[in-house]
Symmetry: D2
Subunit: 241 residues, 4 copies
């Protein structure tokens, strides 16, 4: 048990309370739908946290006990306090993994880590998406077919204004004519970050088995590696000069 990867699934948790259609799809919220799936996977222990909790549920105790943070946000990015964002950022620099879902491309923490606008094209027409695996040897592609089809989804299209990923795992095709870099891996500080495009509040995408498989693969990939914690600042020479 002590070797499990500890995941905190964070959700702004607003849509599900305000909108009946969303509540029908995710009655306990997107965070619980994902956490329940993750808790079926060996070696993963998932909890949840939401915007309305004190410190958005991301207290020092919670963050220090989190190996991988998963982030869903959409309409309330601005309500996340800068102080919490700074703490999350510091934990990532120290090695915590971060998995950024769908509309969280515009979250404060993702924009801060990317250093670019993270802007994109979008359209809500319920069209078809097909995610192609372009790096089949990557751990996040484990157990997947050559492509994942999502029958109805919101479209995100290029130009996606992000730094070129350290590794690009998925590229999406959309019926309406666009493409998108949908699975993007980054090292930042001692932490690993994975952006994953699929997901929506009114389509049941996080119940789709291939999508769930990507989420658990990503958790394992993003878990801290326990590498050296760098020393910074003024240092003495290691050789006589």
């Amino acid at each position: 048990m002590s070797d499990s990867i500890k995941v905190t699934v964070w959700n702004e948790y607003l849509h599900e309370k305000k909108d009946e259609e969303v509540a029908r799809v995710y009655p306990k919220g997107i965070h619980n739908a994902i956490a329940e799936y993750l808790n079926t996977q060996p070696g993963i222990q998932a909890k949840t946290a939401t915007l309305d909790m004190p410190e958005h549920g991301l207290t020092d105790d919670v963050l220090n006990d989190t190996d991988v943070l998963m982030w869903w946000g959409h309409i309330a990015h601005d309500q996340v306090s800068d102080e919490v964002v700074d703490k999350v950022y510091s934990r990532i620099m120290d090695g915590m993994g971060l998995i950024v879902l769908h509309s969280a491309h515009f979250s404060k923490i993702f924009k801060k880590l990317m250093g670019s606008t993270c802007n994109l094209k979008w359209r809500e027409a319920g069209e078809k998406e097909r995610l192609w695996v372009v790096e089949p040897g990557h751990p996040i592609a484990e157990g997947l077919p050559e492509y994942i089809e999502i029958p109805h989804t919101e479209m995100y299209g290029e130009r996606f204004d992000i730094p070129q990923p350290d590794t690009l795992v998925f590229i999406s095709w959309f019926a309406g004519g666009e493409v998108f870099r949908s699975g993007c891996c980054y090292n930042r500080g001692n932490g690993k970050i994975f952006y994953f495009r699929p997901g929506h509040e009114t389509f049941p995408i996080y119940y789709q088995p291939e999508v769930q498989k990507v989420l658990s693969n990503a958790v394992r990939w993003a878990a801290p590696a326990d590498g050296p914690k760098p020393n910074f600042g003024n240092v003495k020479p290691l050789e006589s000069i």
Copy 2:
């Protein structure tokens, strides 16, 4: 003349006014030493701007007329206003190049673009540095020898907490036993960014011909490419769905 690359060399310009030793090396400031060199190069037109000017000399008019911004800062990063940083950032997203010199690794604009702490090891012992070209086919290596020796310099050592460069051009060796990724290229937004380690306020490094050659090569590399300006936001499908 209209095809020249327009460079603005920015300097916090404090050391040179406070410290006699610095003033002896750079009597008109580091910014003017660099700009004077750049103005000897065909196809480059350089001006300067400093912290003490209104809006730090980086007004909308100046930024809109700048193809490549070169940045030196050391002891006054915090005095640069966030508003100016945001304007510089927006211009880079739109395509302006940025060349970040030495201690400007800790400038607000570089940290904002990198999304990591940009921390490092350092030592002021006047030791020897040797920069090895590791990507000799890159335009920034044009006309250079296999390595550049800097007889006396401040040391910067790894771990340098930056995203892995899109292209790594130089790696430094230091007499005291450290190494450093000293020439780092990044695409961010429509802009190009080059971090270059050498330079110091009391060593005459920016007068060294190979170092100057790197600076003019970097200006040419970082000049805007005039690619498509992305459209973002809600879009209609290009195909019938």
Copy 3:
């Protein structure tokens, strides 16, 4: 004139002589269609070479006088002699640029440079392709719109078994449901390599202005940078040990 980039456009030149339909589209061969366009561009001088010439037209004199080699092949990759491939390879290691077109993904020289199978999916159905610019600040995207539409083309689909590009400039969308990494930049040795997907023997793709623009941009990007020629082998220490 002496500062012009010297391009050699190589073509196996078989389809055009065997097949009336191809000959109607490219009466003087694909190589001449491309070379004629390139010769309208300032600072570029293009010649041609073909498989049936002695040494396939790629003698030492020709290669030593070539800054950028463009390569078209389709049905006769095996007829290219290993000796010529080795010479081309050596010139690339020394700095010559290489632009690999469409079906030349399976050329001996490209497979040798990539170190992977370069295999892919394909279909000849004359369907629509849309190339999206995903790195708009890259010099190869200069002057382009956000996407290029090719009304009728052969499809190439992922997984494209190549090393992750150093920079990925284009991603293609196909009507039949596939995506493809269509504009891929690599540094190898002192040389630069650009793989560009579009092109076909029976569709007039190399007459399309945006496609031509990519070709001339790629020539400028791939031109040798005149960096240091590395010394290899046994060396004396630069410091006393």
Copy 4:
């Protein structure tokens, strides 16, 4: 046991039989020294193979039962048959990991995978090397200190003529004034490749605990990910066109 990673440590095994000094350091050969260490590690099962065996010990049965192949060669690269190299290459394309040690930078298999000359500078003066971890969040850095010191070693210096690594984990400093990219990760086909510089036939480097730790970390990182096996060739459209 069935979940163990199966490693084959390959050695040309010539130095150890010809040279008393080498035999004193590695009495059972470098391959056995490494395999014995690996077999002390949980979840790893290592066997060995050598040049003088039929098919160099790399029969179909052996290769099909190998998850990660480790390769040491120095003076007999040319004696490795092209047929065996082609089989190893095919297995890597299918997902087998490859760890390339020290002088195996010039092995046929590494050069074939890199597509460049893999040339470098070298010197046998028994000088000091210090490997700095530059990507501390990478799995291969797990459990390591900030740097590894090797008191006496052969020097390898830049320019190392390789493709820019997908991830660069280590940079070496040498007493004689050179630097080197000493830990280089690549994806090729479905396989993962790690080049690791340290090691020599007369210095006891593979008995050094930090070096051994890198080897077992690399085995875990390079183990096959069981991603999708791509389908190549002519395909039907997935959408009506």
